[in-house]
Assembly symmetry: C2
Homo-oligomer: 166 residues x 2
């Protein structure tokens, strides 16, 4: 058994089976970290870039009309300040532009430049190929059920947040 798989099993070894939520969570986290590491390595080796930069370009590619900083922040699920920093560098590098919005003078819309889109398209192929490769053994049925479980957990988070607000 490989070193990392050994470690995650060792982590779970002494956790009682009635703590199924905890067990599941640890498994999700370790899987996520492994996949993310593969993506980071691929982006660094092939494109000399980082995951946050890639994700920002990816968001903009999906929305041709562009996104405001706040929308990017929500899309990427990171703080607004974080987006400011990453967008600044991508803008200096010529991959994105910011245009003022006519309706709100505080806000502006961020879009890909031609260079940004061209770069993204190159990366997209490697990215998607990698993911299809890693998920190839997951059947459609499994995929559906998996999605359902994730949705339940997300709902629970949502509900908890709404209760906290009230």
């Amino acid at each position: 058994m490989s070193k990392s798989l050994h470690i995650v099993e060792q982590k779970l070894e002494h956790i009682p089976h009635d703590k199924e939520g905890l067990r599941l969570w640890l498994r999700i986290v370790s899987c996520t970290q492994m996949v993310e590491q593969e993506i980071r390595t691929m982006l660094r080796d092939k494109f000399a870039t980082t995951l946050p930069r890639f994700e920002l370009l990816c968001a903009l590619d999906r929305v041709p009309d562009g996104l405001t900083m706040g929308e990017l922040s929500r899309w990427l699920m990171v703080t607004k300040g974080n987006v400011t920093g990453i967008a600044e560098k991508l803008s200096e590098d010529g991959f994105i532009t910011r245009q003022p919005t006519p309706t709100d003078r505080r806000s502006f819309v961020v879009t890909l430049t031609a260079e940004g889109r061209a770069l993204y398209k190159q990366m997209e192929e490697s990215y998607e190929t990698l993911l299809e490769c890693l998920f190839v053994d997951v059947s459609p049925d499994e995929s559906d059920l998996f999605t359902g479980v994730l949705a339940k957990v997300k709902d629970a988070v949502e509900q908890r947040r709404q209760e906290g607000e009230g």
Copy 2:
């Protein structure tokens, strides 16, 4: 529909259904980020601490004999340099200690102090309660299948890494 659930659906909207790996991956990431955010907020609000610090204490609590820095690095799936920094502060704060190992003079074993263990036990309860709450709607069957899917993905990563080595 809540703002964050709306965003993740919007992300998937224009992704073709034959890219099921990508779709699944984006769902996992968004779920993971949401749950992690809940944990971070809880740790900050209740214990004025951070997730990395908590995770290091958690690892040591699971292994009463302690772990070396390298073992901690593999357990937490972060770089050794990262562990050095976090362990340094926890040591200054009196929650962990480092003892030299008799067999290898380069290495030492990190263990919880009494204060560290006491602090961890307080946090552990809130942590586990939170997770059981978030995963409460997941049935045992779902849990098994979910675990199986995660294992398949991890296996794919493992295999990819072994191929890369060769």
